[in-house]
Symmetry: D3
Subunit: 263 residues, 6 copies
């Protein structure tokens, strides 16, 4: 099974770290195909940047979907997730949603902790989008600042452990999500210092994508995720324009390539 892992940030180093971290918990038959955005910002940290990144995500899926069984949008905040599900026919997951649904099977209420205040409004939007607000105990950030996004999980390790423990004590969290691609892999390292389960959102997103691909459900031809009809479009990348105009190859098949291969 091949899973397209899209990093909508422009940092290749972050993509590499995510792939390395993901391998520890992969099912034996899963192969990750990582792609890094070439346009946008090194690290998405606002809703304006997420708006731009959502469009980039659609472009990358259009370009690379051929031969894939599922897609993972590897940014917590899930840029482009709903439009992508509407537009494309393969299963698509993203880090925030997958982490939240997974967390709900580990405890009644979860908290999301991350490393920068700039991120919290965007993450709150992701909670609202999922419909899980009643199960979200808090979205929190440590007071300490950091120098480099790339090293933030080392720089703030102690602060994040302390904050995770505080969410359990003060916010009554039963599970804690370590949110933001730069925290990928931290959960395993600090699990024994926090008294509740920690969810690594990348592991959750890849796990859920694997699960959806195994279900081999058909793409919707009715309802809110039915693929829109062909539409002329100006100013988009060739692959996205071709897909939106129903000119690309996959569009001629009732079932997309990845899924036929899977059956």
């Amino acid at each position: 099974m091949r899973i397209l892992l899209i990093n909508p940030n422009t940092s290749v180093a972050m993509t590499e770290r995510m792939v390395a971290s993901a391998h520890a918990n992969l099912a034996p038959d899963v192969e990750l195909v990582p792609i890094t955005a070439e346009e946008g910002v090194p690290y998405i940290a606002s809703r304006a940047e997420a708006q731009v990144a959502g469009t980039t995500t659609l472009e990358l899926i259009a370009r690379h979907q051929q031969g894939m069984d599922a897609v993972v949008i590897a940014a917590f905040g899930d840029p482009g997730l709903i439009p992508a599900r509407e537009l494309f026919d393969l299963p698509i997951t993203a880090m925030a949603e997958a982490a939240m649904f997974t967390a709900c099977m580990l405890g009644p209420r979860f908290s999301i902790i991350t490393f920068s205040h700039a991120l919290t409004a965007w993450y709150e939007d992701a909670v609202a989008l999922s419909g899980l607000q009643p199960r979200c105990a808090s979205v929190r950030v440590p007071r300490a600042t950091f120098r480099s996004v790339h090293d933030v999980q080392d720089e703030l390790e102690g602060d994040l452990v302390a904050l995770a423990c505080r969410t359990v004590e003060e916010d009554k969290a039963d599970v804690v999500l370590l949110a933001g691609a730069p925290l990928t892999g931290l959960a395993a390292r600090i699990a024994d210092r926090v008294p509740v389960p920690l969810v690594d959102p990348l592991d959750a997103a890849i796990g859920q994508a694997t699960l959806l691909a195994r279900l081999r459900t058909r793409p919707a031809s009715a309802g809110r995720f039915a693929r829109p009809g062909p539409k002329p479009a100006v100013g988009l990348t060739p692959a996205l324009a071709a897909w939106i105009e129903h000119r690309s190859e996959a569009a001629d098949r009732s079932v997309p390539p990845a899924r036929q291969e899977a059956s």
Copy 2:
């Protein structure tokens, strides 16, 4: 007072019709400055298209905000509204949100009626985003089809009147919104055939933008709509990149030009 009216669809004819329609209900001191998107689709009808249009909206505001007192995003569905509010410092309204808040002052529950099934999932998202789901009685579409988006309000006039009446009877709507830019101006024409108030979303959006500009509130420097710090960005249009990187002129002022002028 100058209000930037952004049509994120690429249809200039639609922009012209909206401007003509808006003039009937404008405050005497308001001047509209209309802009039409040059990239995207002629008429946004899916969430994928709205994703793309949201980015276009940010680009157009970045390019044209200088000298404006407020912005109206002239598409029901409000592409880019939240990112735009976070990113820019002037008051910004959009058709769906403005129409819904306005409707809530005219009746306890509103229905949204439009002309194509393709639009309803996107409009439902706009309802959810506003937090007004408990006040939304229904989102409905007539069974009849139409030939041209440009003439749809004439082609379906009778069907839309009948549907509006049915939402009052069956869904217990107390106000009806005629949603979608192509229905702009229809409300005034059919008001006497529907037993509850009809809201024209463009009038509502311009009215609310006028109101916000008159309040002359300061832009947020804290909270969820505080402008993000400067960030290097790749692949964006020059005006948007300059604004995101805090390089454009307006960025050097604590209060944006339009508002200084207003005080």
Copy 3:
């Protein structure tokens, strides 16, 4: 355009202050017609007083609606708002509802701050009535007490600024409403000391009434705000009894005077 401004408190001084404050942000074509209650309490501060004031509000609208384009109920807490909308045919706004809807276009979550603990339960009811509870971050009051309702905005200015800043920091408010007629006009004075937009509820209520009047929507003849049929009534003021019994002049017209004039 003529807007009837009803102060359901018996304090004429407060009416005068509100009118003075409102003039700064009025549209050029709007004329305010202020009326002060002659029965009730000098300043409504409980739900029992609001119950009484709601009836007074209906009486005042019945008496003064002739020739008006819209009505503003100038008390935060909105006494009589829903009954008035059901009973009368002109657009009616009130301070709490208008301030909340306006605030929602300036930030995702708002806080309400006021000057006396006695008011908070009443204000919470207004939040619930609007359906905006999920967007209300808090309703708060400074610890300090005051001597005179008339001077409270001066006496507590520093405390209210500090409290507004605390709601941003502690409650994550993105907009702050300065609630209660005695705080009218304060927003403009302290805006530069609070890092998020401040909403003046009177400006919002007059602005929304102006907007609704401009829309020239028809009164509902069906649904929850359709005018009730004639009913014999005992013990009411003559104007209210006449209107409830459909004996007053306006009742003979399908469209009330103010709206005919506007068209």
Copy 4:
């Protein structure tokens, strides 16, 4: 135990019918003290009328509370209930709220059926006020019309039975409330023709008032129902003004007369 039964409608015949009906299910130690409003309308059927009746209710409680153990507001829609609880120190119940809470112990979801469309918006408000909207399956009215409010339960008996059965079948109601004072006593007569429990709101309201009086809880001196401090008031009835100004006898005692007697 003495329970003050306030009919905020001006119909004495209805009061008599309610008292007669209530006696069938009264606890052996309960005495009802019925009072009929002298001002207002014969039968409240709009929110404007309920606004007026709420003030009347406060006046009647102020005048007759001496020596009572609890108060029942005998109108479905509960005019003045929240202000009355804030203002007075005895337990107070009302027909809509009491019927809904009682119904929730008889089935997961309830429907409210009544006899006139004019009433439904008011009854929906009562559902919202209780916070029980998620448990309300529907608020419905038969299509048939009636001649006399006084005889409506006989005229529409068959229609109401059929409607109750339809709410079970179509709306999945598990309990049905027969709402509106004119339907008092109907539940017992038609119970064997409807397959789920029927709640008589007057029985529920008296039963809950009896229960609250037996609990002998203290009146709140803090929180949302703490009695407001003394306030000068103009234009109210003497008893209500005296109570609001803390001039009446009961105001000098920390615990009101009825409750001292009970302990």
Copy 5:
């Protein structure tokens, strides 16, 4: 009227204390018939124990329902309440639900205080089940520990009073529930030290059962609480198996014995 009081804990001493306490507020025509569980744990303090106790509760009702007018499940947390209502035909109440509905008639928001952290997750579930989460201000426990469940209300009296006062101050509770069978009777003793009404859940549950029995509503033969059809069952106690298989005497009657007697 005979009310079956089921203590699903195995502590006979607790049953005796509850019966003694209940007598102070009983209607003159009510007789309590107490039963103590013989299997399970001395004091239920987890959801796993509540799961087991729920089955025990069904067994005890099956065995002892004959001749009863109503049932009270005398444990806060309400083990088996919903299944019991579905399975049996008499009115059934339980301490958490009854206390919450009762509290809602005494104040807008209630807090639940109890004596052990182990209990709070279970109590939160009871709040969620009732649908009253928006009216629950908090579920809290004092920091102090105790030696004996039997004496806990004496050991922690001061702490519980202080905590009740804190919920009023900090959580804005308007009513406080003293939750957990071991706190039965405490409310009366400390009422004068807490500024809002205190609800004793056992009094509430018996009062509500009394009220429901007086209403003499018919058991549901349709909807979510209609008795399931006969079913073969293995491994249950004889009385429960007989009832589930519709073999026991009461099953042959359309109305159960207690209710016939009552009519």
Copy 6:
């Protein structure tokens, strides 16, 4: 990886069918260990039966958890799920919850269809417990009846296909869940006749259990799912009593056997 598959119904034939069906979508490294209840009913179809089955589920997990990596409760309705998660230390999933969370990644709103009206109240409870009510479009049952639970998916195949299509059309479902263990395996057979994705709840539950086991999160030692302290218990099966009393082997380890093996 070993997953304990608990069928809380007493039908061995159903267990066998579930195991056969599950093998089609299993990850290559997963081994199922099926167990069938020996006490209870052949097919759970009421909340009373689910109450009894929940206790049986706890007993079966206590008896068979040794050496397992995760548990699946193989009944839609999830008997004992929350108590089991609180009591035991391995990941536990169940059919309703897993199917709903999975469905939410395939479409905005899901419908649940099943084969008997007796089941719907229980399934609605499962929806409420998950917190996903806003995303549930409907819970529906075909009108047709069936002879044998064992053959129901064949008998009603056409009716279930038609009903699934109707939920898409009438209820606006974007995903359909085929609920109830007897429908296991049907989704794959009818997928091409329904225009939206169909979720097989058993596949979802096993997939989610596999995912959770791969995450290797630690069991909670704080919060709502922390294992309760030791407690004396009377009348339980030996394995459950031993686990509740912390006497069984696994209780002596801070991390349960299955998870040590996994690390």
